[in-house]
């Protein structure tokens, strides 16, 4: 909206960042939010489309044209309210969301998309700075008790929504701090953890209670929750990592990314970690070309690795997508993350054959090039090569929720799983997010499999509405 000709007059402006050499010295965030003037012109680029594809591209359906216009008019307070009306935690998504909205932006067809994420980032940072983000405790309490198992973005969103509508919500977290992957998956340099702490204080003021070091199904039986609560939300994430069962996998120095990343977050938080896994001075090979792999690269660089190589099984994607074919959907294209900018070798179409080591410690890996024909992978004959490696990090995605403990016990209570071993529940219509046990709901990665923070927030919000409907018969919460 804003300025009808804005998109013709202003160029897209990426957020400024601290140069790699500087930022590698610490674990602080290095992306600087837009200043007011820049946010204004970036907001002016929005065209107020007749059909705002961005809004559908966004999993939480952020009312993007409206807040773009409000920022253009420097009406920050209303912009913040508009943003919060669909998204509980813009400070998370404004930092780590890959911004499918921008892929769907109409300007992205033949120009550069509106910098929606940077505008979101600017709005929420200003909101906190101005003290506009305050607790919204419920006027009336329902007297219903809801347990939320897992404190990642899905659990937090569900808890906040349910708390604000008047239910007594207790969030259980198996780790020692709240936040799930937000806390221990995403490195501090991508998102500082004070953002989570600030939100938790807000939620506590709204009446939500948090219980850490409570692994339901291990420390506390599921049965206890079933007795103590009127409804239970399972939002335990998808933490079952994909393994690489090749010869030599048992060697020391080969770890899952999620054994590596959380330790550093703990150290940054001030904890003492005995025998921390460090990349310092080592030749690191990251297997897996996704976001988690990227985080391993960034962390290894900060440790001071001797070299970092990242392998991806799939072929190198094109630098420019075929827009008429894919717009407004998320395109497969070459993405160079900030961690890549900090230094790393990337190689595509590589499959690891085996690890080779001496006295139980990995020293190198043997890999082979692969080709993809008709969706099937074939090794290229004679393309074997070796790579020096004394730290291998496996970041090849997650297969689904951890099947033991929590899920075992809930399975015994009637909760079913789908063909991908996720907790089975629909997302539409009556009984959305409800499992086969009417009292138990599921949201986020635990229901949908590994996905984005923003999808988790969506599921948490929608699940909260379903829970509210189940408890009260009807719900005022947004869908």
């Amino acid at each position: 909206m804003g300025k009808p000709t804005g998109f013709l007059e202003y160029q897209r402006l990426s957020e400024a960042s601290i140069p790699p050499a500087e930022r590698l010295k610490n674990y602080q965030e290095f992306i600087l939010h837009l200043d007011d003037d820049d946010a204004k012109t970036q907001g002016a680029r929005c065209m107020d489309c007749g059909i705002p594809f961005c809004q559908n591209g966004c999993p939480v359906n952020n009312i993007i044209p409206d807040f773009n216009d409000l920022v253009y008019r420097q009406n920050w307070r209303e912009a913040l309210d508009t943003l919060h009306s669909t998204n509980n935690f813009p400070e998370f998504t404004g930092r780590v969301c890959p911004a499918p909205c921008e892929a769907a932006c109409t300007l992205n067809i033949n120009s550069d998309a509106v910098g929606i994420k940077s505008i979101e980032h600017a709005i929420i940072d200003k909101g906190w700075e101005m003290g506009w983000v305050t607790p919204l405790p419920p006027k009336d309490k329902s007297g219903k008790r809801v347990a939320v198992v897992g404190s990642g973005p899905a659990g937090l969103a569900a808890a906040q929504q349910l708390g604000r509508t008047g239910h007594d919500v207790i969030v259980f977290e198996k780790a020692d701090r709240i936040g799930g992957l937000l806390r221990y998956g995403i490195p501090d340099f991508k998102m500082e953890k004070a953002h989570i702490d600030r939100r938790i204080r807000q939620m506590e003021a709204e009446g939500v209670q948090f219980r850490v070091n409570q692994n339901i199904g291990v420390d506390t039986p599921a049965e206890v929750l079933m007795q103590d609560f009127d409804a239970i939300v399972l939002s335990g994430g998808a933490e079952w990592p994909r393994d690489l069962p090749v010869p030599g996998r048992e060697l020391d120095g080969i770890h899952f990314a999620m054994d590596f990343l959380p330790q550093q977050n703990k150290v940054v938080a001030g904890d003492k970690v005995a025998a921390q896994l460090l990349a310092t001075g080592r030749h690191v090979v990251v297997i897996g070309g996704g976001d988690t792999g990227s985080d391993c690269v960034g962390t290894s660089n900060r440790h001071g690795a001797a070299s970092i190589t990242q392998f991806e099984l799939l072929p190198q994607p094109p630098e420019q997508e075929n827009k008429p074919m894919v717009w407004p959907y998320w395109p497969i294209k070459l993405r160079t993350s900030s961690s890549h900018e900090e230094g790393c070798e990337r190689d595509w179409s590589v499959a690891t054959r085996k690890f080779v080591g001496k006295s139980g410690k990995v020293e190198k890996l043997v890999a082979v090039r692969v080709e993809w024909k008709d969706g099937k992978m074939q090794e290229v004959p004679g393309s074997e090569f070796e790579m020096k490696a004394d730290l291998v990090l496996l970041a090849m995605g997650f297969l689904g929720p951890v099947q033991t403990g929590l899920l075992d016990q809930f399975a015994a209570l009637g909760v079913e799983k789908d063909a991908r071993n996720n907790v089975k529940a629909t997302t539409e219509g009556a009984g959305a997010y409800q499992t086969a046990n009417a009292k138990v709901f599921a949201a986020g990665d635990m229901r949908r499999g590994q996905s984005l923070v923003v999808w988790a927030i969506r599921e948490g919000r929608q699940c909260a509405r379903s829970v509210d409907e189940y408890l009260m018969g009807s719900s005022e919460l947004p869908r």
Partner: protein
């Protein structure tokens, strides 16, 4: 609208109404009238263009019949279409349109609409095309008119299924607009009115137009698939030829829709009703309308003007004329436009001297090179859409009355004229020179609403005018004799200012001539062509009469002329520097 423009068409459509903007007209504000737009609309850059809701030559079904006849004369090979909006009673109108000899009718559904339409119209005007089409089909069949006219339906047609349902309800043809636009790259921004279409579909901005990526092949592909779906659906209901579908409402599967809970309490039987008529009564288009062109006087004119048309030789034709002879000169103009375009022929190449009473639309779309000299009188619509020709109407030599009191030409004279000149020794009826955009005219008096919505050209009135002169006039100039100083009260001053005529010539002068020179030369021509005593009197005592003239100057036009003058002066300066 020029003769050449009409000649270039395969089909000419008269939009009586359409789904998106029925009866509201439109306005193009001055700041949007760029040089390019002004060129296309033959107007002045910067001057707003008002498209008033009514057709000023259509106030009855007979008027519509006349316009159809005019257009058919101008381009006999074009099919003449009339667009109606789907609404209750459209069947009756369609029957009238068929009797008015249209070749083609379009029933526009309420779903259609461009991004530039007012929201109130998009939301509230018209009914679904299915209703209007069913009514049209039934009325035409019942009145045995259906065979004479092709029925088209439009309004958000998108699929082969739409085509089949349209055919079953009685349509021969189908109009698609939005869907092919989307195929060409439209993303329904609803910014058509802002000139900021980011995919270059609905914009004149050269920067944005470069972003247009549509290709004709995309549209071909789209319609290929539509046709394929039509074929599949036809096969599924066992229909071999598309013609066999038309008007077969009995083949529609309706139960599922009618049994839907939302349809409870509604009676759909009339939509699917098949009129009980004998088998031989046509249910689809198959005949051609008799436009009566064979009886046109122009056949003789074309025949006798052969030397001019083929060899550009001067020709003088003399003939008598009756009020049966309608639209005289249009077909001849069409021949000229087809051969020589808007340039036409040099003035006075074909001089047609006629005596008697001319029928309606005398000299319609008259091309340059033709001079129609009528001794006698003429009916309504003289010089409609005049395109460069010259029309002279003077009373019979034996006329004993005062020409200043004698209505010599009817209403709506020179409606939408774009070029040319006319001299009428006598008084014109209402709406003289309405929507004139470039022609000049001299008349000795006129009725109400003279120069209404005029955007260009020059009008001289040597006598009294009716009320509401210059309403909505945004361009051109009128000079009116104001003997008793009361003209001000008869003039609509909303958009114009009155001033004395000026001697001085400035870069911002209308047509680049000073008022005196322009006015005097027009009156001299009037005197020469019509022998007007009034004109001779005025010229005989010019110093006295020149003071009696009032110049009617549209404010917006004055501003635009000034801007253009400044712009060209600046350009000159720059070149000199």
């Amino acid at each position: 609208m020029t003769a050449e423009y009409l000649c270039s068409a395969d089909q000419i459509q008269i939009k009586m109404a359409q789904g998106a903007k029925p009866g509201e007209g439109g306005q193009l504000p001055g700041h949007k009238v760029s040089e390019y737009i002004a060129h296309l609309r033959s107007s002045v850059p910067g001057v707003g263009l008002i498209s008033p809701p009514p057709h000023h030559d259509i106030y009855s079904i007979e008027d519509l019949a006349q316009l159809i006849h005019d257009l058919k004369n101008s381009n006999p090979s074009a099919s003449i279409s009339v667009k109606l909006v789907s609404e209750v009673g459209v069947g009756t109108v369609a029957a009238g349109v068929t009797k008015a000899k249209a070749d083609h009718i379009t029933i526009a559904g309420h779903d259609g609409g461009t991004g530039a339409s007012p929201v109130s119209s998009i939301k509230h005007a018209g009914t679904p095309w299915e209703l209007g089409l069913a009514e049209t089909q039934q009325t035409l069949v019942l009145n045995r008119l259906r065979g004479r006219i092709a029925v088209q339906v439009d309004g958000q047609m998108k699929t082969g299924r739409d085509v089949i349902i349209g055919a079953l309800l009685g349509a021969d043809e189908f109009g698609f607009a939005t869907a092919p636009l989307v195929v060409e790259g439209c993303i329904m921004m609803r910014k058509c009115h802002l000139n900021t279409c980011p995919v270059g579909v609905a914009t004149q901005d050269p920067v944005l137009r470069r972003k247009f990526t549509g290709q004709p092949e995309h549209v071909v592909n789209f319609f290929f698939f539509v046709a394929e779906e039509v074929r599949e659906l036809m096969a599924s209901i066992g229909i071999r030829k598309f013609d066999d579908l038309i008007g077969r409402a009995d083949l529609l599967e309706t139960r599922k829709g009618i049994n839907h809970w939302k349809a409870k309490g509604l009676d759909f039987s009339r939509i699917f009703h098949l009129p009980d008529m004998p088998k031989e009564v046509a249910r689809r288009h198959g005949e051609t309308q008799d436009h009566g062109l064979a009886a046109a006087l122009d056949n003789m004119l074309i025949d006798r003007a052969k030397a001019a048309l083929d060899k550009r030789e001067k020709v003088v034709i003399e003939a008598s004329i009756r009020n049966l002879n309608r639209t005289v000169g249009a077909m001849l103009s069409g021949e000229i436009a087809r051969r020589f375009g808007n340039e036409g022929l040099p003035h006075d190449t074909i001089i047609v001297k006629l005596a008697g009473t001319a029928g309606q639309s005398f000299g319609a779309f008259l091309a340059r090179g033709i001079t129609l000299e009528l001794t006698g009188q003429a009916n309504d619509y003289v010089g409609k859409g005049q395109s460069g020709g010259r029309i002279i109407v003077r009373p019979h030599a034996e006329f004993r009355g005062d020409p200043m009191e004698n209505i010599i030409v009817g209403n709506t004279v020179m409606y939408g004229a774009t070029a040319g000149e006319s001299y009428f020794r006598g008084v014109a009826g209402e709406r003289f020179c309405v929507r004139n955009s470039g022609a000049s005219a001299v008349v000795e008096g006129c009725g109400d609403h003279g120069c209404e919505y005029m955007t260009g050209g020059t009008v001289v009135v040597l006598g009294a005018t009716g009320r509401n002169f210059a309403a909505g006039m945004s361009g051109g100039v009128a000079f009116v004799i104001d003997e008793d100083g009361t003209f001000r009260h008869r003039c609509n001053l909303a958009m114009v200012e009155l001033e004395p005529i000026g001697e001085a010539l400035s870069p911002a002068s209308h047509l680049g001539l000073s008022d005196t020179v322009l006015l005097k030369s027009l009156i001299e021509s009037h005197a020469r062509h019509t022998g007007s005593k009034r004109a001779l009197d005025i010229l005989g005592n010019w110093p006295k009469w020149s003071r009696a003239f009032v110049k009617v100057m549209p404010t917006e036009y004055r501003r635009a002329l000034k801007q253009l003058a400044e712009k060209s002066a600046a350009a000159l300066k720059q070149r000199a520097a």
